[in-house]
Subunit: 285 residues, 4 copies
Amino acid sequence: MSRKTATLLISCPDRTGIVAAVSEFVHRHGGNLVHSDQHTDRTAGLFLQRLEWEQERFALSAAEFPAAFQPLATRFEMTWELRAAEQPPRMAILVSKHGHCLYDLLARHRMAQLGAEIPLVVSNHPDLESATRDLGVDFLHLPVSPATKSQQEAALLERLQAERVDVIVLARYMQVLSAGFLSHWQHRVINIHHSFLPAFAGARPYHQAHERGVKIIGATAHYATQDLDEGPIIAQDVVRVSHRDSVRDLVAKGRDLEKIVLARAVSDHLADRVLVYGNKTVVFD
Amino acid sequence: MSRKTATLLISCPDRTGIVAAVSEFVHRHGGNLVHSDQHTDRTAGLFLQRLEWEQERFALSAAEFPAAFQPLATRFEMTWELRAAEQPPRMAILVSKHGHCLYDLLARHRMAQLGAEIPLVVSNHPDLESATRDLGVDFLHLPVSPATKSQQEAALLERLQAERVDVIVLARYMQVLSAGFLSHWQHRVINIHHSFLPAFAGARPYHQAHERGVKIIGATAHYATQDLDEGPIIAQDVVRVSHRDSVRDLVAKGRDLEKIVLARAVSDHLADRVLVYGNKTVVFD
Amino acid sequence: MSRKTATLLISCPDRTGIVAAVSEFVHRHGGNLVHSDQHTDRTAGLFLQRLEWEQERFALSAAEFPAAFQPLATRFEMTWELRAAEQPPRMAILVSKHGHCLYDLLARHRMAQLGAEIPLVVSNHPDLESATRDLGVDFLHLPVSPATKSQQEAALLERLQAERVDVIVLARYMQVLSAGFLSHWQHRVINIHHSFLPAFAGARPYHQAHERGVKIIGATAHYATQDLDEGPIIAQDVVRVSHRDSVRDLVAKGRDLEKIVLARAVSDHLADRVLVYGNKTVVFD
Amino acid sequence: MSRKTATLLISCPDRTGIVAAVSEFVHRHGGNLVHSDQHTDRTAGLFLQRLEWEQERFALSAAEFPAAFQPLATRFEMTWELRAAEQPPRMAILVSKHGHCLYDLLARHRMAQLGAEIPLVVSNHPDLESATRDLGVDFLHLPVSPATKSQQEAALLERLQAERVDVIVLARYMQVLSAGFLSHWQHRVINIHHSFLPAFAGARPYHQAHERGVKIIGATAHYATQDLDEGPIIAQDVVRVSHRDSVRDLVAKGRDLEKIVLARAVSDHLADRVLVYGNKTVVFD
């Protein structure tokens, strides 16, 4: 925690010499690499890399970096992003009535395990207000009805922007967000779906799973996109079930999956370990 | 292996007193229960039970059992099946070109772990003939083309019936069997699908999984029904994958899943542990 | 939740006729079985059973049950226990400095998922006082030093007895409890050990695991006994790790395991699903 | 399969500039990297890397490589190994009476999935001779008794050396090999132990696991060393068990684990993905 690092995420057409050039660049400016991992998607002809180095002896400030790096980026046609991490990111959590993911994230927050600030929790229901406030976070109740859907979303957008929110976590928020809303936080809205996607997309996945008689259930954390349940998958996990499990049992087992999978995705995102390309992710570990 | 047992599989409307009545029946006729497990599906209002007892001191022969049991069965409106297991069941394996499931089943067969006879392996390709014959099992090559599909299936049906086959395992057999064919072996044709159903039904599931960017892949063994990939699921398992896995890697990891999941389903079926109701299974363990 | 049930846990020498006799008994007194499962340990020659029935039409009160059941119990040499469950059990949580299991249990408690009252949390450190109190539970700080160990335990014992505590959860409590203390709550003190026991018993299991280079780590919930890390195991789970995981990463991954495994064990215990015999458990599911 | 690649495994003290220097070296000589992964063990202060590149346009032959690479290796104090892979490695399999791992490896061999030649299988029992020969591999029976132990090992050594064996797989070979024998194949003898090491080292691990009442069992593939069951772990996997599983059930479930875990370790070893340092492995994936 004490060692300050910078992270660079790169994607570009696959060519020889990229790794050598980039690590030589970091090395030449005094950066001591603490993590370097790359991935080549041969089908897509794409090269993706994550580098993390100690900032202490690194010669370039975040402001100086772009100009110094641009020649190399141009040469290899790179899309790149630098995270120099002076301020922790600001994260909002959206919930409805189910509290298990919220409790879990707020507990991690209080134990200083997330590396983010949580300026507020927003819900379309009042049920989780005391839980949120008791754990020391501000709570905003924004009720919604079919008639008021667009106004509610506008109010939500305004408040999240006023709070300078960097990342949004949908911790079992049961409302669909519009493409316009999502465009403000592309690949920065993380949703948890309570099934092993693409199985059982849509409503009531545990009922669907019980009806189908599967022997394993799952949970999927993904970036929210305009196409519901179709966004890039960040994390998934599963648990074994049997004929002895009722829908209620699936829901109970699923709750534990959901909160762990969501927390893992949120942690990886906040640690700048997730790189999206096409409709997929690379999660550097 | 040495202890000879009989197995009774029951399903009936859920009422009080069934367990007491059935276990009293077995007890009264001298049967020492070695396994008794039941399941109540409250949604369906259905009671399902498996009982297994030592035949040695049991007073009723397989021939006498129906008349003695019928009053009780009638009283509780039971569907029931007795497996008294003097002769091992006869199992045919159907394959195409992929050999991993075939090798695995034949190895278990040679190590006497399956409790079945395997009179023959049938394939629409000649590739696995030497593997089959080297492992001591008869091989029948029945090539098929779009034009000869119905004749090939008729020949297959005739041969399997001539061999008095009780159960058919589709060990990566890439041909769809007709409803007419399947009707001869209802809930006795076991297929392995190389995905975590219902995700990625249909063709080329590993390609679909790679395209979607899932973090876990699976395999599903199920009874083949007229609706492809929709039959009652017997066993499933999964393995973690990452962006580092190409389609070829998924195929390789999946092979190990497929053979283990298929073998587990076949073993459970052969041990009379699987009870189908509706489109689901109870697998008593 | 609304349906009131009674649970009977039985163990006795394995003989024929037990299932018939017991289910007939419940049936005769008007009990509608909602769950019945049994297990025979052939090595130990032991029969174990769990029955759960609706209390509504059951003819015997908890007070009348023993006299009515005793003849049958005597006939089969049964050890038995009835849980008629009018009052929820009272559960104390003991912690030291790590909060992840505590937060998780208190969150489940607030969401009414445990079916227990939590009169207090006790710790030898003050660190988790505000977390506990913010979540609405009383907190007792009982510091301990080598010199004051026995007095501290005496004070702890007195307070837990005063609170009429039925079950104690050691949610990463880093003090060893004496045999005398444990004797007051035999098979009712649940501990979480942060390894896959019996691997890495004792101190600093994540350091041991990292040193040994294992590819999987685990967590184990068990009943605390005089022999440290040797009590009957209730629940275990594991997660895959690699050379990329530092000790700090193992600790972080392990935290998620620990809290889920502990909560599962606590839930099973509170639902009267755990039957201890010898140094093992049957967990009826 | 068609693309010929070379693999370089490196370990050296962790310093800045290694990645840049090595990838620049490969790039300068025309090597197109198809895989590059590195790992830094901060506790040990050690840097480990695996590079794999296409040989087609690479300017250096295997014979020329050492002289060209040595200056760089010296500068960074590297231990390194080049695998230029013209001939497939030669692998011997040692077995006793259990055939499941043997069948599995020989089936993979016949399906050309291993990338190795298997000149022979050796056993201290005759049981698996026909299985081996039927699958097309030579079989050598070398019986052993306490009195003949050293002579048998000498005969084994002689034969394996005569066959120019590169790697030895102990596929449930129930004899301990001496330190002298192992010294000929350091980190090239792969053993499968039928438990989740370090739990249940030594004899009869399934009996130990059943006795202890664990809820999960495992299997461990590791390099054999003088200290039994203490060598560097290559692969592990686990499966859930319950009170319903007898020792016989554990053995049956364990067999499937053992063969999959062993095959995974063998495949990783043969693909030059395993780097041993201290008593641990890095398995590059």
